[in-house]
Symmetry: C3
């Protein structure tokens, strides 16, 4: 009997099944420093304990997307080791900030299954939750992936496709306890633009770009304990390239969006996302954003802004899909999220 | 008089000489995060404070091999700056876990000397100890290296070759105080295989591979304050390549061995090891293991498993030496160690 | 209206203007570990809490140049985004050690302006201060940069060129409170050479070299939240090269200078500095130093040594400028600083 993990195949999943993922992780200032070395992160609330205290939090949390990557990374050996494609995200919510010293683990529930007509693959829908050492859920999201079947002749399961919100209702966003932007320091945050300065439909080109390197994306992906071979092993693909973890592109684009969205401080909702084209070492990532919606929140001085974040491998701004409805070749990522911003 | 360190030559060593190595080092969560970014480390006991507490320890220690690298790195300016080859290891034992906040320093005693018949080099045997800030020995090991003579005409010293154990008697392994695997969580650890599931002679191919990059091995080697020029300076070798620190290969192979040996949690003994062939940037490291022995311990629920860990630059499993008794060209490392595993 | 930061142009600066820079930063053991992974830092006082305590400090501070980079990085979006050249440094002093847990922010005062005769650019002089969370100034320095004009027809400002000390008077150096080298441990520090062993005029070639990689300089530069595009975006320059942040060369040279100057523990003064030639990935950095001056201090056992630190891209030692008075092509950096050394 082999002792190595072959990963689950499509017929191994059952609706209602709960998978507790392995390898809990205690995060520290080390993870934060690495995150800020790997991406040009500058959002003040995640950079400075003093700034976070000025916003009503006990200290600067670990970056929201770093928490996401830790939670996500644990699911890879159980969910996507035999995945052909990562198809989408929905209903992602950050429920509790994560602080240095917290220990995170993840658990996923299978909420949908649909075999593809070719009989060789199927789509698996999971709702993943990340928990801290007090068993508090710190974040949750739905992801669906296309997974190979082990045995093409295995019978197709009953089709269950979950109903997923296209957009999280802003009333369902969870604002961190104590968050208060009434004394927000725009000078220290880096930009004067507040909630009222952004208009729905507005498009912002973020100007800066970063050329990505093999050593960087591998260090990032390992830090999240993501084990997918294709990110690390140059002999795995016939072309000798290492596919960059989609989350690396998410974090790079989010960091680049500081220039124009410095006050979109905290990500609290992930409405959806697509890794439109693969990313490889040597590409220069740039980003642009579009304001999709705005909403008030109950927290003092805090508004919620819904943003489309697009990562591209050229300098284009505002162009997403071609006439055929497909993503343009330069588009690497199309992400739809809610962030909190001072009013 | 030059103030730079030329390193010691063979005739500078005397049996019985004790060398206190420079540059003590306080380790933190930063070293841990970097270690986990540089290698795909997933052993739960070193990843999660909560998991470690569930095993009777006060917190997750710094990875056993990271502690080894810190101790080893300090010896390089005194022991191997003029080394031609790193010949072997023996009698390595981890005696106390190292925790964030601990400060490590190293000291070596010369325990053997043997000039080579060519009169130009000699073999130096040292027993190195790493101490924490309470002067507790946290680990010790014997290493022997081939060192150049400064003056070929210097007289040969009396030959002293220490008697070294081929294998550490399992009774001499030191189990960390409080370690208790009776409530070990196999789900969080990542694999169900326990002590009883492994058979002596069993060979495990660890499947995953990592292509190594210059930036990564240099960052790792600097983190351990290892100063050997050949790892950093591309102008040092005629072929313009930087030789990768052997310890980088050890840590990479150990991390890769998680897949199949997730429950070989703590390394407590190093019986021997050979850097069979040099490793350079661009190679893809894979690994396989062989179960060499098993032994009981006095700690509750804790068994000791003796493993051969082999790093290779191709996908071969189980092939070590050719008919001529020499290591095959794809073999980078042949390591023999004791680890602790839940019964 | 664009929301991205276009940076200030020459005509945007007024003498007396104070700019509070954005994005305060809490530093931790993570920043220290990364700094020691990116550069071969070995100065014991910054490596070991125990060694620092033995010198009268509460713990090992964050490396002096790491503190400088954090303070400097914050100024880039306000001072040098449209800079053509970084012309010089003067009157730099470290006033308080920075410890893990401290939060740093920066502020700059414009102290001089001089339009160039071509009418297209001008020189801006700023005095920058870094403050911790207790509003204590941890360091200050003067920097002058050549900045483009937005509008060539904008009127030239009144010429104000500040009088700057060529060298900081050693009486004005600030010795960290409590610093005491009377029980200094030369063995743990790594070299026996004390203050009295160095002679003014002495030149030390530091022997070691490090070949620099894109991933490393970008990680370093991001860690300091330095946003200058030219360091990250390979599409920014016509030749496709990323210019390495000058501070990366400073830190690399300082780390290399350990070999021969291990006891030049703390940098307390920056008299001047020039980035003589640009540095790109693939170059191998080596370094040499010249003793420029020596002075006593009031602290027990502590002397101040003034050093020229030169980074070069070949193995030359002691050669700085050609007959034309210009820096030789291999010279990357010419830095003039005061350090503290045991007497």
């Amino acid at each position: 009997m082999t002792k190595t993990n072959p990963g689950r195949f499509f017929e191994d999943y059952k609706v209602g099944q709960v998978i507790d993922h392995a390898v809990p992780r205690t995060v520290s200032g080390g993870e934060r420093a690495l995150y800020h070395a790997l991406y040009p992160m500058r959002h003040a609330l995640y950079s400075s304990d003093e700034f976070a205290k000025g916003c009503g939090l006990p200290a600067a949390p670990i970056d929201d997307l770093a928490a996401f990557h830790v939670v996500f990374g644990k699911t890879v050996p159980d969910v996507s080791l035999n995945a052909v494609a990562n198809l989408g995200y929905a209903e992602g919510r950050w429920l509790k900030p994560v602080y240095a010293g917290d220990t995170l683990r993840s658990s996923s529930e299978v909420i949908g299954l649909k075999q593809n007509s070719n009989g060789k693959t199927g789509v698996v829908y999971v709702r993943t939750r990340g928990m801290n050492q007090r068993d508090e859920v710190v974040m949750e999201y739905v992801r669906w992936v296309m997974v190979r079947k082990r045995d093409v002749d295995a019978p197709a399961p009953e089709v269950v496709v979950p109903e997923l919100s296209k957009v999280i209702d802003p009333k369902d966003l969870v604002i961190p306890e104590g968050l208060d932007f009434t004394n927000y320091d725009f000078t220290l945050a880096g930009e004067p633009h507040r909630f009222g300065d952004y208009e729905v439909g507005e498009v912002i080109g973020h100007v800066d770009g970063v050329t990505v390197e093999e050593a960087e994306h591998m260090m990032a992906t390992r830090l999240w304990q993501n084990t997918a071979k294709v990110h690390f092993d140059a002999t795995f693909r016939p072309d000798g390239q290492r596919l960059i973890y989609g989350g690396h592109v998410i974090s790079m684009a989010r960091a680049l969006s500081f220039n124009g969205l410095a006050n979109a401080q905290m990500i609290v909702g992930l409405n959806g996302g697509a890794h439109a084209n693969p990313c490889f070492s040597g590409l220069t990532i740039k980003a642009w954003s579009e304001v999709l919606d705005k909403a008030e929140t109950a927290a003092p001085g805090v508004g919620a802004i819904r943003l489309r974040l697009v990562a591209v491998s050229d300098a284009s701004v505002g162009e997403l899909k071609g006439e055929d409805g497909k993503y343009l070749p330069q588009v690497l990522l199309d992400l739809d999220y809610w962030a909190l911003m001072p009013i």
